[in-house]
Amino acid sequence: MNDFILALFVLFAGGVLVPFSANRYKSVFFAGFVFAGSLFVLKFAFRALFAAQVPEKFFLMPYPIGEIRFSCDPMSAFFLVVIALGSIFSSVYAVGYLKPYEGKDNLSAHYFLFSLLIISMFLVVTVQNVIAFLIVWEIMSVSSFFLVAFEYEKNEVVLAGLKYLITMNIGLIFILIGFVVLSVKSASFDFEAFRNIGLSRKWTDLIFVLFFIGFGTKAGFVPFHTWLPHAHPAAPSHVSAIMSAVMIKTGIYGILRSVTFFQNVSVEIPYLVIFISVLTCVLGIMNASAQKEAKKLLAYSSVENIGIIGLGIGFGILGNFLGNKFITIFGYMGAFAHIINHSFFKSLLFFCVGSVYQKTHTLNMEKLGGLIKRMPLNSMFFLVGSVAICAFPLFNGFISEIMIYLSALSVIQSKSPLSFAVAIMSISSLAFTGAIAMICFSKIFGIMFLGEPRESLPEDIGDPSKPMLLAESVLALICLAIGLVPQMLIYFVQPVVQIFLSDNTYTDFGIYFKFMNKISLFFLVFCAIFALLFFVRAIFLRGKKVSSYKTWGCGYQSSSAKIQYTGSSYSDFFMRITKPFIKIDEKQYYPRGLFPKKGNYHSVFKDMVDYYVVYPLVKLVRRTLDLFGWIQSGNTQRYILYGLVFLVLAIIWVLWW
């Protein structure tokens, strides 16, 4: 535990010392500190992951807090690994990404808050005391708010950041209530005391639902996801990456931690989790496919992936009820594998998109196109990320999704009609999600990187600078490596899954390793087939004429880049079918008459949940609170009067009783 504390100090020192370094070296300086600190954490976490003894550390604090316990069980260690890797990659990426912002007034503050965010995330997953947890949780939310608002001069950035902060605090209320109930019932602030307090089923269900809402707000489960598509586009790319890939996972950590508190939730709870997760998957990816802005699309795709993780967790809980070990192990294994996989490919995608933004200053895909010729490496890395996130074979996304599929398929074998129906529906929804993900990512890759530029692009577009390429290439390699050698994923995940098994006995993961051996063998066969066909093609084409000519325009000679399909038109055909679930406000003026003038078309995407739930609710709250607006008039005399009235009332109250 001591090297963990040391690592936190290194990180903090990095944040504090950044203002004293020269502008040019700030990023490198900071990245060095984060690298060193995260390396320490990684070393510590790997040891804790496989340790027989859970490392613990106690701190005695003054009265209301009491004794704070830090401990690092396999689950904490797993999340430490995710956070540490995510922090390393995004701080390395930031070295290149923040180059144009050199000398911006709040750069030092940005780095300081960045280190604060990393430290608070490390603490969130290790601290085992309610009050300390809530404090670091709030530090995490607030520091990330400031990171989102890096470009504070822009109005919409600040608005998006505020939306994020407010949503987080609403989520916090639910977490707070849950913890208050638990602390009162167990008369303790320590997480360990919550484990076996013998609450009735009604209470545990209620608290679990509260935690699910509270932590689900952070994670981005569907009715509470609306902050994501605003905060991610507003934040600089390395921040969006760390938020989407790592920080929202702390919400998942909270849910999983609360799962370990209660062994006796009702049977309905896993079904509820599965239902919400399916909703999150399908709605998330449907909304993603409607986006024009690359980062918004990625944000919605994060929502979808959180749904997939939730599906794994739901089946994991369900497996304990059905008494089938396969379901539990595959479910949790899939969930944890997807947590770490998503952190890799989502960082990669955000990095690639950020590199595009740095060069073109726009993320609207209707204005981009043909970038593969200008930034070939960046485009290839983006392709790797999209193939991985669509869960196509050979890459890591497939590994975690097939585990969740297998968990659901094992549910089918259990002899209960309800679980049968639920499992089938979630399998088909997951398949549907995968298919829409294909639409989404073929759209974003095809429109942004392929074809011809739709508007004239700046001259100096090229591959991003070396640190950015370094971060991207390492991530792309990891995505491929996990896909080809999935055994290492199971190796890391198995001690974590162990703690969720109801009987607490040691389970042999041999069969799961064997399963993954098979998959990696099959992938090698696939590579062999591809190589064979590649040579067949080369042999057939040898000595033949391969000429290049302009694209066949179906007889139309004066083709231009303007008549290419745009992102909106690409997803339009699908949108027409899914219209009831996606709200798009359209305004169109057709060219009319014998001598038609210009026509035009506007479309504005609106999130259904925002439009039908959040905004009316906000309006209602605002109207109700306006009724009390007169209390805070700004008039000092009046405030003194309030104090006086309060004192008089207090005196009367004391005298009366």
Binding site: G369, I402, L406, P417, M425, A431, A435, I529, S569, F574
Partner: protein, 306 residues
């Protein structure tokens, strides 16, 4: 032995399958029609040609037919034929098969988006939507049939789902009809898509491959035919019982696959393609059938009805 036959089946039969369709169509139109082997001649002719490649394209365009074909061949190795076990197999391999088709489709989509042609973009939009709509129904049916087998590999799922008193022919029949629609969708046949249309605006799959030529186009034709054949063999496996004499079940299997081809041909001859806005409704039929299959499975296995 069976494995060699299986591989031979994957390599030799696909164009025969499409050949039968073409022959049935021409017979129905009162023509003599081309030879059954015509598609092989076409394929080899294409393989001998050079290529014309669009100027706007890059690497993606060139490797996309390769990936399309290799995924399809690889997927074929997981699908059982002749009522016997597939060459490869593991728990949940049908998911891999579906995702392999997805990977192939993803690359064909981005490959044709790379040509910067508005027609090809239109084809992409349609094709991706159609496959997205077909997916959930397919998974629903295969997953509910997975209830029957103890394991969840494609071979055992299909081995346990044949017409027998335990299952009732109805579920099999529903599965067969859904898979038949799947063949029409994945093979881009009438009423979803007309492979013979000459107007680019009405094309779906054909328009996506407008710019492919030579060996690349041959690969695309081959992977399309193979994909149809793979779905046809899944369909045939649903009907015939597993095991048994290899040669006999092979004969029955081939006849069934030929029947599927004939049915596709007859449908192509008697109806026109649907209006583009009606095609999604037609494809959604697969999901509807999937729902019925799920309901049937629940009733048969958990309810009192037998």
């Amino acid at each position: 032995m069976i494995k060699v036959l299986n591989i031979l089946f994957l390599f030799a039969v696909p164009f025969l399958f499409t050949g039968i369709i073409t022959r049935v169509k021409s017979l129905a139109a009162g023509r003599k029609g081309p030879s059954l082997l015509q598609h092989y001649y076409d394929f080899f002719k294409l393989m001998k040609k050079g290529e014309v490649i669009s100027r706007t394209t890059s690497l993606i365009f060139r490797i996309s037919p390769l990936i399309g074909l290799s995924t399809t061949i690889f997927a074929g190795l997981f699908v059982p034929v002749f009522g016997h076990k597939s060459i490869f197999g593991f728990q949940g391999d049908f998911i891999l098969v579906a995702y392999l088709f997805g990977l192939g489709k993803f690359f064909s989509l981005i490959g044709s988006l790379e040509t910067a042609s508005s027609f090809e973009g239109m084809g992409c939009a349609r094709e991706s939507t159609f496959s997205a709509l077909a997916e959930p129904g397919f998974f629903m049916i295969i997953a509910s049939l997975a209830f029957l087998g103890k394991t969840m590999s494609f071979s055992s799922i299909l081995a346990n789902s044949y017409i027998n008193p335990e299952l009732s022919g109805m579920i099999v029949l529903l599965g067969v009809s859904a898979l038949f629609i799947m063949i029409l969708v994945e093979g881009c046949r009438i009423p979803v898509d007309d492979p013979n249309t000459h107007l680019e605006l009405t094309m779906v799959h054909e328009v996506m491959v407008l710019d492919n030529s030579g060996p690349d186009f041959g690969f695309i034709l081959y992977s399309n035919a193979l994909k149809m054949l793979i779905f046809a063999s899944i369909l045939a496996n649903l009907i015939i019982p597993p095991g048994g004499n290899l040669w006999f079940s092979m004969l029955v299997f081939m006849v069934l696959v030929a029947c599927v081809a004939v049915c596709v041909g007859i449908i192509e001859s008697v109806i026109a393609r649907f209006r583009m806005s009606h095609v999604p409704q037609f494809i959604f039929l697969i999901t509807s059938i999937g729902f019925i299959v799920v309901a049937c499975m629940i009733l048969f296995n958990f309810g009192e009805i037998r």
